[in-house]
Symmetry: C2
Subunit: 225 residues, 2 copies
């Protein structure tokens, strides 16, 4: 009997990436919600190094790190391909997701949660990164082409979470006039029926980040950790 | 005609990872040395986002980021496998190389180049990370098992570069008594004939980091950038 469990957190874009991948492949799984303020013994056992969600447990064997989990899912289960078949295209997809997590996410995050001159500098940096994404998505429906792929799943934070924070903190980054293609992609992504039904509730996410604004030191982490 | 070019830097462990992968596969390539203080128009054209080595150019198409390049090489060329065949083992290899680059490398680097109390704190952090590696390599010749694989290539900085820096700055991290298995692996790795002939000259590396000690602000970068 195949047994698939996902340890996740409702508000984490990293967990949601993996959930989307499982759903794209039609994999049945048991979802276990983690309380990140009081991590379960199971999470600490399965991800002793990072102690973070998501963790996929397949027949008792754990895998951590959302992008690594998604590659595993794509390799193990039949169904629509999440990574491109062509090795060069696959390398490019890996390049963009690394860029998203290592450059875009931290730069945007810093722009949101800094103030004054520091914020302006961080905004400029974020915009420099986003220009590369804008140019990559131009002329395509999804980063994956006509269908949702690895880069779309990884960019989910831009399409949903960061739009909400952007409004809350009053930092405009991906506007229709400056990033028309990226904006269009974000609309397309969150409104595609498959994604729509798998996004966390907007009011709950808003409340989470509102709490962060009120008590920045106490809720300084992304839903991730 | 297949054309493979590698833009690299002699002292960069990231470049050396890719060179090792090409040699493991027996791929013929043209090597182009980059002067990182005066980057070539070719490097800026092929890696406009990061402007870093290594870049592999295969039939005119560029790929950046050492670990992404190695996966590409493994997928495109015949020869000994660099990543494991089994999807779970492959996921684990990806996990460890991410851990090496995102956790071990920065923590060790900070321990080397800080002082006083700050250094002690950084050393403790590095040691915490290294304990996981110590336990992973225990009982195995290489991270890849009996033969050199992705994780060994990625851990090259621990086996060679960081040992040299460790001596230079007088910060002991991977000692025989604290990390017997990791030490043994490092010896095994740098002394395997295949690796040995592909390592940069020790005196040149020593001179490079000696310069860093004398003028920390001017040569603050790893050979990487």
């Amino acid at each position: 009997m195949v047994e698939v469990k996902l340890l996740g957190a409702w508000g984490s874009p990293f967990s949601r990436r993996v959930e989307m991948a499982l759903k794209l492949k039609g994999v049945e799984y048991e979802y276990l919600e983690e309380d990140l303020n009081n991590k379960s013994p199971l999470l600490l056992k399965y991800n002793p190094i990072h102690k973070k969600v998501p963790v996929l447990v397949h027949n008792g064997k754990p895998i951590a790190e959302s992008l690594i989990i998604i590659e595993y899912i794509d390799e193990v289960w039949e169904g629509p391909s999440i990574l491109p078949q062509d090795p060069y295209e696959r390398a490019m997809a890996r390049f963009w997701v690394k860029f998203l997590d290592e450059k875009c996410m931290p730069a945007m995050w810093k722009a949101f949660w800094s103030t004054g001159e520091e914020r302006e500098k961080n905004k400029d940096e974020a915009i420099e990164h986003l220009k590369f994404l804008e140019s990559e998505i131009k002329g395509k429906k999804f980063f994956g082409g006509d269908t949702i792929g690895l880069v779309d799943l990884a960019a989910n934070f831009i399409a949903y979470w960061f739009r909400i924070i952007s409004e809350l903190v009053g930092v405009e980054l991906i506007t229709d006039d400056k990033f028309p293609n990226l904006s269009k992609w974000a609309d397309e992504y969150i409104n595609s029926s498959f994604v729509k039904e798998n996004l966390p509730d907007k009011d709950k996410i808003t409340a989470f980040f509102n709490a962060r604004i009120r008590a920045p030191d106490e809720t300084k982490y992304f839903p991730k950790a």
